[in-house]
């Protein structure tokens, strides 16, 4: 290690070092990613929405705990930029607070399901044989559950707090991740470096965690990005069905559910469009990022 450093130092002194640093794989992947304008726009929007939801309330301070019925459905004005809802909550402030829930649950549920699904899929694929068959039948069963129906049942049973919802969503999402990672593992486990680990006496768990999972990381990250978008949508569905977080907490789906009551009565556009558009833009952004990441990782694989 020290020798190598000295050598490369010598090379620089003698003017023999390459003038430009050879571009690494991750750098090439980043270039492919950066060429995708939609993905950059997606990243920009995700950063914006995170700032909006978490820093926004500091700048635009509103009371999101106590109701104020004198402000019942007030129209957008200078003091309430997006008007108020039927309980007198400021709609713009509500959008921020609801967004916090949506983003937190979306990211956490994605993280939990991807983490668990990856380990499960990698172990199943690596073990092979009977263990794999049993583990995969469980995944088959999970994938053929009508997830929305079971989600509805689960939300009725467990009192929906943020943490509970994260695990309920993750419970139904990890099956897909597990199947995908297992497929990837089946090709990786025959590689020489994985077999070498076994030959030198490494435990199976070491192959899985240190060699198979890192080499499947592209698939996993791409899937994780889509998982965020999907989890935000699932939370919105639960919120819309009034099975989401309990008031005064809210999320974008619950806000839409509240707005649905008033669409017949007149033009209360501020109850519907802000949360709806927020959901759509956030999900589209994560989908764009995921698509670009897939392209980036594929080029990395192609040039390897």
């Amino acid at each position: 290690m020290t020798d190598a450093t000295l050598l490369s130092g010598d090379a620089t002194e003698l003017g023999l070092a390459p003038t430009t640093k050879p571009r690494g794989l991750s750098r090439r992947a980043w270039e492919v990613f950066a060429q995708n304008k939609l993905a950059l726009a997606g990243i920009a929007f995700v950063i914006f929405i995170i700032l909006f939801c978490f820093v926004g309330p500091i700048i635009y301070s509103t009371n999101q705990t106590n109701t104020d019925l004198s402000l019942y459905l007030c129209r957008p004005s200078a003091s309430h930029l997006l008007g108020c809802d039927d309980l007198g909550y400021d709609e713009l402030g509500r959008l921020m607070v609801g967004g916090q829930t949506s983003l937190e649950v979306g990211l956490a549920a994605a993280a939990v399901s991807v983490l668990f699904g990856t380990l499960y899929g990698a172990i199943s694929g690596f073990a092979g044989g009977f263990v794999d068959a049993v583990m995969m039948r469980i995944v088959d069963a999970g994938l053929s559950l009508p997830s929305l129906m079971v989600l509805i049942i689960a939300s009725v049973i467990f009192h929906p707090t943020k943490t509970v919802i994260v695990f309920v969503i993750a419970f139904f999402y990890w099956f897909g991740v597990a199947r995908l990672v297992r497929g990837e593992t089946l090709t990786l486990r025959t590689r020489e470096y994985v077999q070498a680990v076994r030959v030198i006496g490494g435990r199976p768990m070491r192959s899985v965690v240190r060699h198979i999972v890192p080499n499947a990381i592209g698939t996993i990250i791409v899937q994780g990005t889509f998982a965020v978008a999907d989890s935000i949508l699932i939370l919105a569905v639960l919120g819309f069905l009034t099975l989401g977080v309990a008031p005064p907490a809210t999320d974008w789906g619950s806000m839409l559910s509240g707005g649905l009551t008033y669409i017949q009565g007149g033009n209360y556009w501020w109850l519907i469009y802000p949360p709806g558009v927020a959901i759509i833009l956030t999900c589209i952004s994560f989908n764009f990022i995921g698509d670009a990441l897939r392209d980036a990782f594929e080029t990395r694989l192609q040039r390897r």
Binding site: A141, S144, L145, M149, I152, A154, V156, N267, I272, C283
Partner: protein
Amino acid sequence: MVGFLFRRIGQAIIVLFLVTVFTLALVHLFPGGPVRALLGERATPFEINYFNNLYGFNEPFYVQYLKWVGQFFSGNFGFSYHLNQSVASLIGQDLPKTMVLVLLGTVVSLIFGIPLGVYQAVHRNTVSDYILTGVSFLGYATPTFFLGIVLVSWFAVDVHIFPPFAPQSTSVIAILGQPRALVLPVVTYAFLLYALWSRYMRSSVLDNLVQDYVRTARAKGASERRVIWRHVFRNSLVSIVTLLGLSLPTLVAGAILIEVVFNYPGMGLAFYQAALNVDYEVLLGFTVLATVATILGNLLADVGYAMLDPRVRY
């Protein structure tokens, strides 16, 4: 082929077993058990004991499971204590109405999704392809219920073209008799699925366009129209069959949301109301039915794929 069929059916039975055990166990997680859900918060211990004995909820789980499966096979899907109606009759009453919605929505989405997907693949990376891709992305990211709300506020509240609610009736014929009221629910449902088919069709056609048989067809002097529609299109359609079978959970979930938004009196709405009322036998019966349908759908998709594509060997 026969061996494959048997193996595939064997897997389906194992999956069915796991799913039913899971669903029954889930229902037993209701705080205080199913009897508490049935009798409400203020039930006395005596009442709970009485009902537990009456319905056998105090027996070991496996006994209850076997009993329940036995009932299911004899056509007894349970009883709705809330509606005072058997689940089987509830299904008989609501399933046809949901089928109308699902079938109409699926057909409309296929009519648009498949040709437009082919069009996008043939004219890939043109402005029209980008626009249609944008539409599909929108379809993926838009919550079904939000689209429903927006369509209602545009076409039923702002401009009175369509009624804001789905046709309300207990019979299928009466529902089909109000086509105007069906437009918004079907359009919302179809848009959700359109994104799925068109994206899939586009990539499937793109895959097929680089195959050797396309070059052969062109070399023979076949017109571009013939190459696309006689060769590529038909081969791409094979994979759509699989997708149709695998999309059953999406179809079911979509139907629930559409029915809640438009107050469409189908199985989805009944299920949602049962969830709010903790009408657990309805929840159980509907879920298991939907799961059986999904497993059958997957099975048919696999078998259909094997039959449509002579290259598939098992």
